[in-house]
């Protein structure tokens, strides 16, 4: 091999050429694979999923020791385990940046107990519902302004109601005809509680289980969950409930289908309730199995 003739060079040249072309096409094929793979396929490949949470009890939150848990988080764990996806990586962010974060690819699933609402369905896809929830008021002990429904707040112009930006409670307050001057928006549920303690609002309005958790965690004897509380009524005069689902990107239909399949199974074998029960959920909070995201998105 000491001295190459022209022919050798030519031969080697062809060899290198073929090699290069081969490497090139392998690379191209790999890139195609990487771009062509759906989120679901990618998650199965890495066995890991990134979930966006808003650090709210009981849905998805960080424990004092830094561990991630919560009702919705545990359901995600249960529905993805059969597909070999067992590593849950949390991204903690504000509730109102969950949808932009999902669409920017900062995480793959919203695990914050988000209600399925037609407006949100325009931006993201939802799985079938995990839970159903009514609203509830938190107030100072004895409920000094005697507020038991959104209607009561609308009737009393001196009453002030607090809730959180980006949540569907904001829309419900608006639809109840409450004057915007009476509404105080906080960026976190814990800030709403602080606002209530400080007398900046008379009631705070959140999903019922979130109110329970806020009041338990705060452990302030001067606060209470308002009872009785009258739910908003739908067009048929029945209490209108909200349904919480996992939020996914619109394109990830195979992931939505895969999760729905597992959810249906958890419905039948009762595992949905047993997963949610440690976080204070009861049979009342389990939605009927025939309620689908498509119905809820249609409004």
């Amino acid at each position: 091999m000491a001295n190459f003739g022209r022919r050798d060079i030519l031969r080697h040249g062809i060899g290198i050429g073929i090699l290069a072309a081969g490497a090139g096409s392998i690379l191209a094929a790999r890139t195609r694979l990487a771009y062509g793979a759906t989120t679901f396929e990618k998650l199965q490949g890495t066995k890991s999923v990134t979930i966006g949470i808003a650090n709210e009890k009981p849905y998805g939150y960080v424990e004092t020791d830094g561990k991630i848990t919560g009702a919705i988080v545990e359901v995600i764990r249960a529905v993805l385990a059969p597909y070999g996806i067992t590593d849950l990586q949390p991204v903690v962010t504000n509730f109102d940046t969950l949808i932009p974060g999902l669409n920017a690819g900062r995480f793959d699933i919203i695990g914050a107990g988000m209600y399925v609402k037609p407006k949100r369905c325009e931006a993201i896809a939802f799985t079938n519902p995990l839970t159903q929830a009514g609203g509830a008021f938190g107030a100072k002990k004895g409920n000094p302004k005697n507020l038991h429904s959104l209607k009561d707040v609308a009737k009393d112009p001196t009453a002030r109601i607090g809730t959180q930006t980006g949540t569907s409670q904001v829309d419900e307050i608006k639809q109840a005809g409450i004057n915007p001057d009476q509404v105080v928006l906080f960026s976190k549920d814990t800030e709403s509680i602080a606002g209530l303690q400080a007398g900046r609002v008379d009631v705070i309005y959140y999903p019922d289980l979130e109110i329970n958790n806020l009041i338990t965690t705060t452990a302030d004897p001067n606060l209470e969950r308002v009872a009785p509380y009258e739910q908003i009524l739908d067009a048929h005069g029945k209490p209108s409930l909200n349904y919480q689902s996992l939020g996914l990107r619109k394109g990830d239909t195979d992931l939505v289908d895969a999760i729905n399949k597992q959810l249906a199974e958890m419905h039948t074998n009762g595992k949905l309730l047993s997963t949610l029960a440690p976080f204070g959920f009861t049979q009342n909070e389990i939605p009927p199995a025939d309620v689908t995201a498509a119905q809820l998105c249609a409004g």
Binding site: N55, V92, A104, G105, K188, A194
Partner: protein
């Protein structure tokens, strides 16, 4: 080992404090370099350079830092540019602060007596040499107090980064409030930790100022 209240909150809060300090120091580095580049560009003898620098300052100073971070983090990925949270924070806050910093640089350089430039020319120094050896040493001294202000402002502005999923000190505090409900204790500790971080930064800038004071001209009589 479990610490007595309220010190059991410290491990999580200190982790947040570390993120806050990292973002502060790195963003301060970015801001310092850009402050000089842009500040001197605003004094450049060429109109287009001055114009571009002015546009840079007015846009970054005139829009909200929070919205700038939102844009970098949530909108840029749609254009194929995906920065990780830490990089976004350092670049975002660094760019924002440099708009203020460049004004400090510009003002301090302009403040040096024009006679100093003339004297340098008389000694046949090139403008670059004059800037480096005569003007900047005096200007640096004048920059120190406002730069110190800005650095401490930055330390506190880092609380904005929770928007882009970084768990800084403020966000760690809000996490602890959510899981323990002990708001008064948590926010009390957070205040203290910010103070403990800000004091050495202030001291550092004062030390630098003392070092630079050898360039102070004797008071004219």
């Amino acid at each position: 080992m479990t610490w007595p209240h309220p010190f059991d909150l410290l491990p999580v809060l200190l982790q947040g404090a570390r993120v806050t300090l990292e973002v502060t120091l790195m963003a301060a580095g970015v801001a310092l370099v850009l402050s000089f580049v842009v500040g001197l560009a605003r004094l450049a003898p060429f109109h287009p350079v001055r114009f571009l620098a002015t546009v840079y300052v007015e846009i970054l100073r005139g829009t909200s830092a929070l919205v700038q971070l939102f844009y970098l983090f949530f909108i840029l990925p749609a254009f194929g540019i995906r920065l990780d949270p830490m990089t976004t924070a350092v670049i975002g806050l660094g760019l924002n602060l440099s708009a203020y910093g460049s004004e400090i640089v510009r003002a301090a350089v302009r403040h040096v007596d024009h006679g100093q430039w003339e004297a340098s020319v008389a000694l046949s120094m090139s403008p670059a040499l004059a800037l480096r050896r005569v003007i900047l040493p005096q200007a640096l001294l004048a920059m120190m107090p406002p730069f110190g202000n800005l650095l401490i402002e930055l330390l506190k502005a880092t609380s904005l980064v929770s928007l882009i999923t970084l768990t800084d000190l403020t966000f760690a505090g809000s996490t602890m409030v959510a899981s323990t409900g002990r708001a008064a204790q948590v926010w009390g500790l957070v205040l203290l930790i910010y103070l403990v971080m800000a004091l050495p930064l202030g001291w550092l800038v004062r030390r630098l100022e003392a070092r630079l004071s050898v360039y102070r001209l004797p008071v004219k009589t």
